[in-house]
Each structure stands twice: as structure tokens, then as C-alpha cells.
Amino acid sequence: MSSNNNTTVSPGGLPSRRNTELMMLVFAVVIPVFAYANVGLAKEGSLPAGMLGYGLGLGLLAGVAHLAVRRWAPYADPLMLPIATLLNGLGLVLIWRLDQEPTITTDRLGGPLAPGQLMWSTVGVALFIGVLLLLKDHRLLQRYTYISMVVALVLLALPIVVGEEINGARIWVRIPGVGSLQPGEFAKIIIAVFFAGYLMVKRDALALASRRVMGLYLPRGRDLGPILVIWAISLLILIFETDLGTSLLFFGIFVVMLYVATERTSWIIFGLLLSASGAVLVASTNAHVGERVNNWLNPLDRAANDGVTETAQAMFSFGSGGLFGSGLGQGYSRLIGGIAAKSDYILATVGEELGLAGLMAIVMLYALLIERGMRTALAARDPFGKLLAVGLAGVFAIQVFVVAGGVTALIPLTGMTMPFLAQGGSSVIANWALIALLLRISDTARRPAPAPAPSLDAEQTQVVRP
């Protein structure tokens, strides 16, 4: 059906902007290649050996993704793919740059991680293309509302059952021969699908059938049920997986989508009260979360064994970067130690080596990506698409805020990764799928309306001459 529409581009419709996207993509590939050369020159004084292969690889990924968009989502937003490519490319450079530090690239820590990340990026782009190819209309997902719910819950509960605890958080599932997987990254997309489908059906009941108490519209008990269930589940995640991040993400996105669906401010107040009380409860009872909160309040304090904490090391990284940074390859963010420098704390390397200027640029890239997602939601014509887009953009925004805020000690640190930038297969794959969904919705939204069918009425009023 949609392919038919492609052939009927009306001259008065929105421009497809595919050429704009291609132009931007060239920049998105060239900038990381220059960054790659920069690291090599700084560390070894020569251009790194793998530069050509690396540049071609990134270029190939971007090119294929672009062709897929051109073919299957020609009216999609032109900015999201270049931004995602740029972030992913810079992430690869940063991980490769940290791979050059022997102290954090030992065998025990998995050796060099950039090649693996490049492979996962390829898988991510493949999934991106797969989504665009197979999902011709996002409304198809509406059929799977309750299946989505089950899948999301299974994914979220999986680490509790078969997971392993790393760094105090139980959010990983080890798959033999493949590596560790973070099911939460995939669950966040699937849960957005569920919420969009569920709320689209229930929004009227939730919005209208409520009692007014002290100026707030309180929902009926039967409508309140699902919300309390979600709250309970997010608390359970927090308690059993000690993962503040996923829990916050999960609950935050529910409140946002509920608010958008019902247009009732009371839901936000209600949701904030619930999440605040849950967070305080857990923070005061759970040692791991309590420690994180402590680190947040006093980021520079020594650890219990008198060592310098990761939080403090990250702060030193940011501070030492100053306005313009030490230059790629010339910082000491490896002092953070372990694999965290490449994953959770990747922003510290950005801050130290690219400085305040570079870090602000990265934050602005994320902000731009979120803005494009929100714009897609506003432009979407169907309520399901609107809810799904706002959910996906929101989940992305909350994740960026929670991670970046965590490493800069704006809020307590949580165990999540910076989308696209940080090392981690699950994250990069899931986020490529997220971008594909947003592109699909925006393609539908910006696609010109089909040419009007020939008007029968007009024909009927023709004068019939005998």
C-alpha cells in the first residue's frame, strides 16, 4: 500500500529532504574519521593504521542506512540518522582511543572493545534497516499491545532469574557465545509500544471518569490499578536488580505517556509522589543505592577503603578538561579504571579531552535528536503514532538525562549507558531500533496525503445530455 503512495508524490507536499540527509551524513562520517586521525597523531605521532578501514566501515554503514531510508521511508526526518551516525561514530573513536590505554585494556577487562562495538553497531544498523523494511506502518504494532506487555515484563524480570550481578547491579544476562545482554535496553522500547497501545484505548476512561478532590482529578480505583501495578514493578526492579536507572526510566516514561494521553496534570503530581516515595524508601534501605546517593552528595569523598571513588575520578576528569579539553588521546580518564571508563563514564573522556565545548556539543546533539523525536510526535496524525513517538523520544531524553546527570553528579549515578556513545552491544542495537521506529512514524507523518480520489459527486452533477 505504502509503496503505491510513494509513486504519487504531489508537487505541493513536503520535500523529502533525503539529499539534506545525505549531506549531513557525509559530515557525520568525516568528523569521526578526523577524530580517529587526531587520536593516532596524539598517541603515536602518525595516522592510525586502521583509519581507512574504519572510515570505510562507518561510511558503508551510513550509506546503507541512508539507502534504506531513501527506499522505505523517503519522507522521514532528515536529521535523526545523521545525528545517530555521528554519535555512534564518535563513540567508536572514544572507545578505540581508550583501548590505547593498556591499564584498562587488559585481558581480564575483555581486551580492546572497539572492534566488538563496531560489530554491534553493524548489527544495530541491520536491525534499523530491518525495522524500516518489515514495518511498513507503525500502526501494525498496535495489534501487539498485550504481547508487548508480556515480552517487556519477561525481559525486565529476566536478570532477576538468570542474571549476574556486575558492579552491584543485576541488569545483565549472559548468553553463552554471544556475551552479556542488557534486556532493559530492549524492554524500554517494547514498553513504550505497550503504553501507546494501552493508553490509546483507555485514555478517555482515565481522563474523564475521575473525581475531583482538592483541585486534583483522582482516577477511579479500577483505572488506578494498572498504574499501581507499573509502580510496583518498577520498585521491584529497583529492589531486586538494584538498578535505579531502569526503574526511573520505566516509571518516568509511564507518567509522561499517561499525561500526554489524558491531558491531566494530576497524573504527573500523582506519579511524582509515587516515584519520590519509592526512591526514598529504597535509597534508605538498600545499601548499594544508599552508597550511590552518598557518592552523589559528596562526590569527592574517599571510599571506605580510603581509595578515590570512580565518581571522584570522573569529576577530576571533567574538571581537568576545562574549557577546551586536553585534546583527544591526551587525557587521563583511564584513571577512572576498569571498563566503566568505556561504558558508563564515557562522557568523562569527552569532558576531559574535548573540554566543556565538546561536551556541550555532544549534549546539544542529544537534545537535537530528542527535539526531532518530539517534533515527529507533534506531526504524527494518529494517536497511537503520537503516543509511541512521544514515548520513544521521552525514554531517550530521560536516559540521556539520567546517565549524563549521573556521571556529572547532578543526580545519583545509575547503571545505564549513554545511547550510541558508550560501549555496550545491547544499548547500541536497541537505540538503532528506536531511531528506526521514530523514522517510520515521521515518514508516515510527513508523507503527502494521497491524491484525492476522483469525485463521484462532481461527475454526477454533469449535465446529461440526451
Binding site: E101, P102, T103, V256, Y259, V260, A261, E263, L300, R302, V308, A312, M315, F316, F318, G319, S320, G321, G322, L323, Y332, L335, G351, G355, L356, L359, M360, V363, M364, Y366, A367, I370, E371, M374, A377, L378, P383, K386, L387, V390, A393, G394, A397, I398, V400, F401, A404, G405, T408, A409, L410
Partner: protein
């Protein structure tokens, strides 16, 4: 749905704005504080990323930098005769920071000093690593060795000055430590450091020459004599005084102050009182000069203030006190205390005909290209005694050496040697073995090239306490140090 959606979009914008504000806060407002935080290893990584400049004695470096295979610290500090030079150089450790010359001149040694900016820029353009400058000291290697070996296993300190300039020639403290033992940051270094820090009996890391104050004992009588001369109490060192033996302390009924040598101290003149170290005479003079006058005299010699050589030395003290205490302070046996550096300054002012030069041990700072960045010019600290009085004090101090037949060691008779011994009591009611002191100077035709102060803490029960005296334990070290300086001057 668009209205709440716009609000959500604005909310996400606020989240991003909060991030931007936060990164500005930590990377701009807090940046300096974070950069120089004591836990931030970048500070010491930077310090050891290039070979450090050297500390120079007699034209030869006594320090070095050794390349390591450590990922964080490329170079590690080394010292030749570290134990001997530790009171001068201090330490520069990857784990424990810097001290003394290594600390005071850190920015020159690392090359970070603003005055090296031009050098650094040239190095950067020509692609060379940043290099540190050198610190050229005034010390005399032979004198330092004589002092260090003279102290041997004993606790104590030696300071030798050039009275004409104030240049420090020797600065020894024992027991000492080898800064090389904890120059790195490994387990061995930590162990060595903790052992040194925990050794409360020996306190090897205490710089006794600059940072420990001792009761000066009879060596302080030189200051008392100077005060008596300057205040006109006596005009001549051969003029008889009027103090009984034993001396009854003022404001007390019957607190007697006796003398070691019997029968010579009653009404003795200053020349003899100095020779026989008469407590009665100097307590009496101190009492008659008065607390105010004594404080003024002591301060003219450098008491009651810290001196920066440029390494800081503790302030020696002569406090306000009541009359009996002030009288006792006149023989160096009350609340007044002095660093070995201070007593060397007293001897040097006398030897330099009354002019006290400001003590210093850094002659010049030199850039890697051998340009002199900073040259120290000798400075006068003051003139505590007049030239005439200084010459009288010289006579009295020379009487001490010649009259008591103190062994001159290898120093020839053409050199005038003046000195003053001291045996300072310590512990409550003199319960511990005393400190043995000796201050001295040598004068040749070309003025006085060296003045020395030696203090030795005798261990408990090491020797019979009646045998402890400055002339026996401290004087030989002083003579050796002076001989080393004199030999160098002639050679």
C-alpha cells in the same frame, strides 16, 4: 494531545538545559578546584612526565631522574647520597608529594614556572619535551660530608654558614633517611614511608637543623654578652663584674645558681666568664639587661621569626618572662629555644664583625638552556652588635678555644678560631641526658669564611652524663667542618 506534548517537549528541553548548566558548573566554575585537588593524580602524573631538573652542589648534580616503565609516571626521582643530602633536598615522591628544596622549587624543577614560559614555547615549537630548570645551591660538598660523617649514628644537627654572605655551606641532620626509598608509589615505597613516619623514637624525617628548637644552653651566653656590651652594662670584656658565686636568682629567697668550675666565677670579667662558662655572671648580666633588652638583642640576632632559606626554618624563641626565668634564659636554660641554624647565625654575626647576613642556600635558578632565571644576592639581615663589640666578643670566644685547649683538629695556627660550648639540660629536673652544643667560627686574613653550630642529642645511658660536654662531642665535628671549608678555600 498536542498541548501536553509540547509541555513534555519543554520539560525534556529543561532536562538538557540542566545538563548544560551542570557541565558548565563543573568544567568552568569548579575546574580549578578539581584540577588541583589532592586526590587528582593528574597533578603528580604531570610532575613526573618529564625528567625533573637537578639540584646542584659544587657544580655537580646531587639528584637525577630515572625513566621507568610505569604507565602513569614516566620518571622517578633519584638522589646521590640521599641520606646525607635529605635535609637539603627533601623528597619528591610520586605518592607523597615534595618537601624542602624539591618542594619550594618544584615549579622550576618541573619546568612549569612562568619564568620558563619562553623556554617551554621554544621546546614546543622544536618538538622537544618540556624540561625542568636546575637549582644551584650554596652548599659545600666536603663540609656537608664532614658534618654528616661527624654526626654518624648520633642524633643531632650541623649548620655551617659563610658569615660574609649568609650562604649555607652545610646542613646536616641525623638520623636521616633516603628519599629514594619512597620516590615511587608502589608497595615498597609505602612500606618505607610508613616505617619512617612511624619511627617516633628517631624521627628520621625531622629536619633538626631547621625545624627543631633546642634549649641553647651556654652557647646563648654569647648573646647575653652581646646584650651587656650593647646596652653599656660593661664597656670592656676585661672589666670586672659584680656577681656572687653562687648567684641567687632574683625574686627568689634562696634559689642558688652554681658554676661548674669552682673559684673563678665570682665577680669574673666577661672574658673569663666566657672561658669558664660562668652561669652566675651571665644570669646576672641577663637580669640587669632586663627581659625587654634581652628580647631585643635576641631578635636582632634573628630570634622570634621564621627564616626562609628559601626552605622555612622554625622560629627560635626568646619570650617575655619573669625575672628569675629571664636570668636563667641568659644562660640558655629557660623558655628560650633556638634552632641550630639560629645559633650558627649568632656565631656568624660575631665573626662578620657584627653584621648578620640573611642565611640562604639557593645561589641561583638556571633554565634548561643555562640562562640564569634568578640570582640570589647576599642580603644584610641587620647589625646586632657594633664592630667594636663584635671584636670584643671574638676575643672572648677565642679565649674559650685557646684557654681551654679545645682540639683545633687539622686547622692551622694562622687561623683564628672562636667558639662556645654548651651543655643544655633537658627533661624535667634535668632527668634526661643533656644536649651537647658547640658554636664556632674561623677567621683568616680574608675575613671569616665559616661559622658552625653543632648540636648532639646524647642517647640515654650512652655515656656517663658527667662526661657529656660540648667540647668533647660537638667541637670535633665543628672543627672538621671548618677545616673542610678552609681547605676548599685555599685549594
Amino acid at each position: 494531545m498536542n498541548k501536553p506534548m509540547r509541555r513534555v517537549a519543554v520539560f525534556c528541553g529543561v532536562l538538557m538545559l540542566a545538563l548544560l548548566v551542570r557541565v558548565n558548573w563543573i568544567q568552568f566554575v569548579q575546574a580549578d578546584e578539581l584540577q588541583s585537588h589532592e586526590d587528582n593524580r593528574r597533578v603528580s602524573i604531570e610532575r613526573y612526565s618529564n625528567p625533573r631538573g637537578d639540584i646542584i652542589v659544587d657544580g655537580e648534580p646531587i639528584t637525577g631522574s630515572e625513566e621507568t616503565d610505569d604507565p602513569d609516571y614516566r620518571y622517578q626521582r633519584t638522589w646521590t647520597d640521599g641520606e646525607m643530602w635529605a635535609p637539603v633536598t627533601g623528597y619528591a615522591s610520586q605518592a607523597y608529594g615534595t618537601s624542602f628544596l624539591e618542594g619550594v622549587n618544584d615549579s622550576i624543577l618541573t619546568g612549569d614556572d612562568d619564568r620558563l614560559f619562553f623556554n617551554n614555547t621554544i621546546d614546543m615549537i622544536t618538538g622537544r619535551d618540556q624540561r625542568g630548570g636546575d637549582v644551584v645551591t650554596t652548599l659545600n660538598g666536603d663540609a656537608q660530608r664532614a658534618a654528616f660523617e661527624g654526626l654518624g649514628d648520633r642524633k643531632g644537627a650541623v649548620v655551617a654558614l659563610d658569615p660574609r654572605t649568609g650562604a649555607i655551606l652545610a646542613l646536616a641532620s641525623a638520623p636521616s633517611y633516603d628519599p629514594s626509598s619512597f620516590a615511587g608509589y608502589g608497595a615498597d615505597d609505602e612500606e618505607a614511608w610508613l616505617a619512617l613516619q612511624g619511627d617516633e623514637d628517631n624521627e628520621p624525617m625531622l629536619n633538626r637543623a631547621l625545624r627543631e628548637t633546642y634549649p641553647p644552653g651556654s652557647t646563648f651566653k654569647v648573646v647575653t654578652a652581646a646584650a651587656a656590651l650593647e646596652n653599656g652594662l660593661i664597656d670592656d670584656i676585661d672589666e670586672a663584674t659584680d656577681y656572687e658565686d653562687p648567684y641567687i636568682l632574683p625574686d627568689t629567697q634562696d634559689r642558688e645558681l652554681g658554676n661548674q668550675v669552682p673559684g673563678v666565677c665570682a665577680d669574673a670579667n666577661v672574658r673569663d666568664a666566657m672561658r669558664y662558662s660562668c652561669n652566675s655572671v651571665f644570669a646576672g648580666l641577663s637580669n640587669d639587661v632586663g627581659n625587654e633588652g634581652m628580647i631585643e638583642m635576641a631578635e636582632r640576632f634573628g630570634f622570634n621569626e621564621e627564616h626562609f632559606t628559601p626552605v622555612r626554618s622554625s622560629a627560635s624563641v626568646y619570650p617575655e618572662d619573669n625575672r628569675p626565668q629571664n636570668a636563667m634564659a641568659g644562660i640558655g636554660q629557660a623558655s628560650n629555644r633556638a634552632t641550630p641554624l639560629q645559633m650558627a647565625m649568632v656565631a656568624s654575626a660575631v665573626a662578620n664583625n657584627g653584621t648578620l647576613m640573611s642565611p640562604y642556600m639557593v645561589d641561583k635558578l638556571v633554565a634548561p638552556n643555562l640562562n640564569v632565571i634568578e640570582q640570589h644576592d647576599p642580603e644584610e639581615l641587620g647589625e646586632p652588635v657594633s664592630g667594636d663589640n663584635a671584636r670584643q666578643l671574638q676575643e672572648a670566644m677565642e679565649e674559650v678555644v685557646d684557654g681551654n685547649n679545645i682540639d683545633r683538629g687539622s686547622i692551622g695556627d694562622d687561623v683564628r678560631i672562636g667558639g662556645k660550648t654548651g651543655t643544655a639540660q633537658r627533661g624535667e629536673d634535668n632527668s634526661e641526658p643533656p644536649y651537647a652544643w658547640f658554636i664556632s667560627y674561623a677567621i683568616t686574613d680574608e675575613g671569616s669564611p665559616v661559622a658552625v653550630a653543632v648540636v648532639i642529642e646524647i642517647g640515654d645511658g650512652e655515656v656517663d652524663r658527667d662526661l657529656i660536654s660540648g667540647s668533647r662531642f660537638a667541637a670535633p665535628i665543628a672543627m672538621d667542618v671548618m677545616a673542610a671549608v678552609l681547605d676548599d678555600d685555599q685549594g
